[in-house]
Subunit: 432 residues, 2 copies
Amino acid sequence: MPTPERFVSLVVQKYGGSSVADAESIKRVARRIVGTKQSGVEVAVVVSAMGDTTDDLLDLAQQVSPSPAGREMDMLLTAGERISMALLAMAIYDQGEEARSYTGSQAGMLTTSSHGRAQIIDVTPGRLRTALDENAIPVLAGFQGVSPDTKDVTTLGRGGSDTTAVALAAALGADVCEIYTDVDGVFTSDPRSVPKASKLTAVTYEEMLELAAAGAKVLHIRCVEYARRQNLPIHVRSSFSDREGTWVLSSEAVAELVERGEMEEPIISGVAHDLTEAKLTVVGVPDKPGEAAEIFEVISTVGANLDMIVQNVSTDGRTDITLTLSGSDADAAMAALREAQPAIGFTDILFDPGIAKVSLVGAGMRRHPGVSATFFRALAEAGINVEMISTSEIRISVVCRAEDAPRATAAVHSAFGLDSDETAIVYAGTGR
Amino acid sequence: MPTPERFVSLVVQKYGGSSVADAESIKRVARRIVGTKQSGVEVAVVVSAMGDTTDDLLDLAQQVSPSPAGREMDMLLTAGERISMALLAMAIYDQGEEARSYTGSQAGMLTTSSHGRAQIIDVTPGRLRTALDENAIPVLAGFQGVSPDTKDVTTLGRGGSDTTAVALAAALGADVCEIYTDVDGVFTSDPRSVPKASKLTAVTYEEMLELAAAGAKVLHIRCVEYARRQNLPIHVRSSFSDREGTWVLSSEAVAELVERGEMEEPIISGVAHDLTEAKLTVVGVPDKPGEAAEIFEVISTVGANLDMIVQNVSTDGRTDITLTLSGSDADAAMAALREAQPAIGFTDILFDPGIAKVSLVGAGMRRHPGVSATFFRALAEAGINVEMISTSEIRISVVCRAEDAPRATAAVHSAFGLDSDETAIVYAGTGR
């Protein structure tokens, strides 16, 4: 799978905001795209808004209205990709190849009508296929689509451009979807906070999903899920260098790479931490069937997604339920719980925003005993107090104090021998 | 026609870039729109890009490519209105009325496929009509459309938002199209250079066309032509004040206003000057039939529009032809002429970019003798050397040195008694 040039005939390349932050970057990206095309590979491009454009537009909206209408917010934000895609198409022309930019609507990116968090329901890329057949390079706006019900413009939410790229690659029958970012691939930890993080040759879709859920920002969960369903290889790499990046593949494809000796058998694929969650403890819940369900129903009414849930053993007929959820959902969840307090009959709610989740992910951990022991010994030796524990087949997560997270991550990273001799390069800020 | 509230049931309001230059301006405009709606009048809005957005985007394009593809340039520039219209819709919501923004394509603004200078061929405003019927305020992006042939996004060129507004007003059967700008209406001269210019109560379409062709920037020629064909009243006014502006009407409607005593009978509607033209003299043209035609054919091949043409009397079988054209077309025209020089057989080309055209416009001049005499006496007394003269039924234009133009304009303005006692207010820079 590394050295993919042998069999690739059509590639979708996605460039994030940091890769097209200014005119110079756009020209550099255009040269790379034209280079790919002139090497004899058909290429379609997906592009995000330039650098800080999205944040600037959000800021303008805030100045105009405290709670902007979703339809208008999507209309506003999609201007960002309109600008970057047109400029990128111009720059490609300037390098001697024909390019044509398309909005999500023009490209047949059909979505649900939920503004700000629409889901792709179908892709009908007829105009892009025609462009390819006419030897032109189609440049598609990431992150956006159109609802066939309302005919309105929609956005997929943050990280949506990755999903656009994978969906387009699947619809065009591309051999690979290349996701260009500001690091050289997927690392064993975020190279921004762990400079000794090692680049992975390949990870499975399942590992990548766990890493994304654990706080790794390199790929969005939805995009990985889409690729897994389509069994579409993703190649995460940097637009700032020519190095081979990281392949995201099926577990069978990864096993084949190991068999061919192209990579070592992986046990641990990474250590991630997430500072965006908060902890809620519902104290003194009556210990009888259905009480927990009521609490989770109340929280779901405000659209908050729960992550970890721990119930302590019951004492004197009452129990405490602790859960973590996105910090931005915490206020709404607490308000809903307080309203339901008389009906449910718990005694108090404790709120703790100062937490971090540290997770160890690796498909190999189910075959290798002792992984948990090594993990907890490393945390203990670093003096980290573990507040909650949660596990899946290929992941162990703990909750600790937010300020301990970098130290905990570094200790676990070292304990599993993941430290690299080289320092990982971060080329720029992150895009969306 | 002044005091139009009596009979207006549907109005199209167009706001230029200077009226929506920042968040505060957008909120101010939203309050005005909501005020109109809540007074019981149906309202549809056309909006330009915010302040300098278009120039900023042009600048970015220039950085990426020296000669950007027209299709991509239109894709890029239309991002400007996308931003302003979404923000304006949000601001209207915030004032308590529903608003829905529409791109030219969504609004059925069908154009030719000439990128950067497309012409409107049809308007099918079904979605906007539905929005109005559902009690919502439609907000349409000015300056843009879609080609039904190529399905590509197009722009109408500078000044195009005015044309969008008039075309929409005609298609919706509006009673009036209000063009909001940064001055209180149409003045007897540009208040930026003649502070004593007087505001006109009304002008005819024909006078407005002559004023626009003579260099007045308040309304674009195409928009006035469109309104004349549809006999649609235009009301030019300021978004920064509540004053009555200037009505642009048929000559019958203006005559009716005079009869009803709502305005004095107008003789002169204004004095305009234009610094954008250059003068070319083709020297020593063989004085035989067809030579002039050949010269004009050569110039038309580069797409340059000629304005004034003067041919001097013939001496020794040769003559000189002097013409004015847009300064930006001069280089191309001269290159084409030089190439054709051997075939045509003229002896030289003289080029003079330092000229101005000063024009006096007024439908009353055909009924009032002595207008020419007053005009030329005023110029003579101001010591202005007249280099060329051209006239239409309702206009006299002269060419003079560029540096003399402000003095010439002021002298003529005073000579016809157009000076106002008040100083005209200019509220901001111009939009498109």
